[in-house]
Symmetry: C2
DNA sequence: CTCTCATTTGAGACTCATTCTCAATGAGAA
DNA sequence: TTCTCATTGAGAATGAGTCTCAAATGAGAG
């Protein structure tokens, strides 16, 4: 977590009359220091392992603040759990997910972005955000026979 | 629900050694007769209102069979509930959703389909399915000030 | 048509991610 | 330092979906 990122967080907290607590900083640090798509429970457990005991409730509450203020990105791959990833120094992107091993690859297509905008315009919607996920089998998983699960 | 659709369902049940029960037929009928994107609970309640009392468990179980055998389409707009729609005489499509009033518009873009395939190819994934949802404000909801929620 | 039996059903218990409650604690303005 | 809310943690509550198990029932065999 760079100072810049911490500053952004401080600004958000200030603007919203929220307090800068050690718990909030630790949770944000944990997400910033990982390049995975983390579940709240994973964040909770990573912190615990580092002897940073923060309650699940606080982890959930902090991730909510971060998401609401666009300091993290959130995704749901259909298993009923939110996954978070830091949103810093990287751009908006979509995901290609292996349904077998869970490997996630990120992609960007300006062409798709444009067509999305056209579609929204056509139906008179003001486009605010989108979810675009491709599901398939990665190179590895395509090789292994399906019986070997 | 046309006879053709019922026949398809019978065939699926037969192939899987599942029985054709009145409950299963009623649940399928309910979905086929609606053009909405229905939650399991809505299906359960619609049936109840028609004095067709079928347990929630059976509704969930039937929707699962229908989904697994591609007789219905399933979507999750991020609120933790599956929504189902019949899949008959209509084609694969994606959704444009108003975050204010919930109105759902359907769209298809062959261009996007093609690019998706290119992306999957590029990363050496075998593309199996995708989720593509655009969220925004519909014409109506764009007019009304945000305070009036 | 009846028998038989594996499948299905319904009621309610259970799961599990997330949210809520509330008493105790703590951040930070003055 | 004091004062005052916001925040925290522990555990209860929620809610969509799944599971359990005894009773009911489709449907093939006879
Ligand atoms: Mn990502
Ligand atoms: Mn649809
Ligand atoms: Zn894989
Ligand atoms: Zn609307």
């Amino acid at each position: 977590m760079t100072d810049l990122e911490l500053e952004k967080f401080k600004r958000v907290l200030n603007d919203e009359n929220l307090k800068l607590t050690p718990q909030r900083v630790e949770v944000f640090r944990e997400v910033c220091n990982s390049d995975e798509h983390l579940e709240a429970e994973e964040i909770y457990l990573s912190l615990k392992q580092r002897k940073v005991n923060i309650s699940r409730a606080t982890v959930y509450r902090t991730m909510d603040i971060l998401y609401q203020h666009d300091l993290v990105q959130r995704m749901d791959i259909g298993d009923g759990k939110w996954r978070y990833e830091h949103w810093l120094d990287c751009h908006q992107h979509d995901h290609l997910i292996c349904i077998r091993c869970g490997t996630i690859v990120e992609f960007v297509s300006h062409q798709i972005e444009e067509i999305q905008q056209d579609v929204a315009d056509k139906f008179n919607y003001k486009l605010l955000r989108h979810v675009h996920q491709l599901f398939g089998l990665c190179k590895q998983c395509r090789k292994t026979p399906m019986s070997v699960i």
